[in-house]
Structure formats: structure tokens, C-alpha cells
């Protein structure tokens, strides 16, 4: 699965994307965020602000209980500020 980061999430993580294999216990977006937090201080710090992070699964913004296992691409980013 490809993980992509945008805006200050990208800056916090330190890179724009990575390819990952999800552990079996990661089923939903919520699980994914919890697991990411175990990957070190950068992610831990990021996820202390997790309520402001939006998640898109295969380019559609979803809620925390959405499934991620079959996704090709999951993206984490702050609320949009376009226009």
C-alpha cells in the first residue's frame, strides 16, 4: 500500500510518500493511525494532533471506521484550504 502525506503532515513526517505492508491487525483507518503512532517519535507527535488529520482512501475522504486493507493508496493531510 502507498501512504501519501500532504501539507504540514508531509513536513512533519519528513517525506511525501512511502510504500508499506500493513500488519494484520490494521483493518480500519483508526487502526492505521494507531499503528503509525508506534513507528517512532515523528508519527507519535503527528498523531497527537490526529483529530485535525483527514484521511483519504483511494482518493476519497473517509471516516475513521472505513476499511483500509484493500486500498491502493491512503493519504493523510490537514483540512483543505483551497480556493
Amino acid at each position: 500500500m502507498k501512504l501519501r502525506y500532504f501539507a504540514w503532515v508531509r513536513v512533519q513526517v519528513g517525506y511525501a510518500e512511502e510504500d508499506l505492508e500493513l500488519p494484520l491487525q490494521v483493518v480500519t483507518v483508526r487502526d492505521l493511525l494507531a499503528w503509525l503512532a508506534t513507528r517512532g517519535p515523528k508519527f507519535d507527535a503527528l498523531l497527537t494532533r490526529s483529530e485535525t488529520i483527514r484521511v483519504a482512501v483511494d482518493q476519497a475522504v473517509v471516516e475513521r471506521d472505513h476499511a483500509v486493507r484493500d486500498a491502493v493508496e491512503v493519504a493523510l493531510f490537514p483540512p483543505m484550504t483551497g480556493g
Binding site: F6, A60, E63, F77, P79, T81, G82, G83
Partner: protein, 161 residues
């Protein structure tokens, strides 16, 4: 029509060719958003728009289709810039054409309200006092919410796209 581009664009030139040659167009509404220097705040040097390539184009296409479904539009146009730009430059332009003015106005405002909160763009401001990511505004969420929740990409817990 949807355009996401790094190149500067000229709203006047866009209006010049928009919906021309269509005799049934009685009303054209446009909105242009520009990089702005706010008085009383640290002077803006540049604004950079980051986006999510692929998702941006798909979502803008869905939003435009939604506007076309809700209102009888003869034409619509969404242009959104990405990358770094200077004060005074156009960031975004929305144009709508219809037989009547209510449809043109409503669709134009619907499109810009959705763009502000639902399209995957993020603003980064550089001012003389430093640089930071622009925070989302509650007022923008409220503006988008008044149009209801029909965009498929904005699905709830069980939503599939």
C-alpha cells in the same frame, strides 16, 4: 471545464472566451480569488498551493458534475493554480453560464464554497514575519455546508466512491 495548473492565468482572457457563441446564455457569473495582502498583518511575500495530484482533478470533476446536475448550466469553468505565487495573482476562477441569473449565481457560489473546503489544496503563506500553513476556517465549512452533502467523495462511514 477543469484546469489545475502551475502557470499563471488571466481571468479577463478566460471570460473573453467563456460561453461565447451560445445564444441561449443570458447570465454569466464569475468569481476570481486573488493572492491578497491583508492590512495590519505581517506583509505577505508569497503563497504556495500544494495539492493532491489525481484526487484534485477527480474531485473537481465531481463537483462540476454536481453543479451541472443541480442547475441548468450552459457552461462552467474551474481554474485552480498550484505552486508559488505573488500578491495580486489569481489563485482560482469559477465561471458559470445559464439562461437565467439565479442558476448562474447559485452554481458559481456553490462551486467556490466547495472548492474552499472539499478540494485537496493546502495554502502555505510566507510573510515578512515567517512562514506557516494556513489553517482551515470554520466559516468556510459553514459556507460549504449550506449546499447540503451530495458530493460522493465526501462519504460517511460506509461510503464507497
Amino acid at each position: 471545464m477543469i484546469r489545475v495548473q502551475a502557470e499563471a492565468f488571466d481571468p479577463a482572457l478566460e471570460l473573453d472566451t467563456f460561453a461565447c457563441g451560445n445564444d441561449n446564455v443570458g447570465a454569466i457569473a464569475t468569481f476570481t480569488g486573488r493572492v491578497r495582502v491583508a492590512p495590519g498583518e505581517p506583509r505577505l511575500i508569497a503563497l504556495t498551493l500544494e495539492h493532491y495530484p489525481g484526487m484534485t482533478e477527480r474531485l473537481l470533476g465531481e463537483i462540476e458534475a454536481e453543479a451541472q446536475a443541480r442547475w441548468p448550466l450552459s457552461a462552467s469553468l474551474i481554474i485552480h493554480r498550484i505552486g508559488r505565487m505573488q500578491p495580486g495573482e489569481a489563485i482560482v476562477m469559477v465561471a458559470t453560464a445559464s439562461a437565467h441569473r439565479d442558476a448562474a449565481f447559485d452554481a458559481c457560489r456553490f462551486l467556490i464554497d466547495w472548492l474552499k473546503t472539499k478540494a485537496p489544496f493546502w495554502k502555505y503563506e510566507e510573510t515578512v514575519a515567517g512562514a506557516e500553513w494556513v489553517a482551515a476556517k470554520d466559516s468556510d465549512d459553514a459556507a460549504a455546508a449550506r449546499w447540503g452533502k451530495k458530493i460522493t467523495a465526501q462519504t460517511g462511514p460506509s461510503g464507497e466512491d
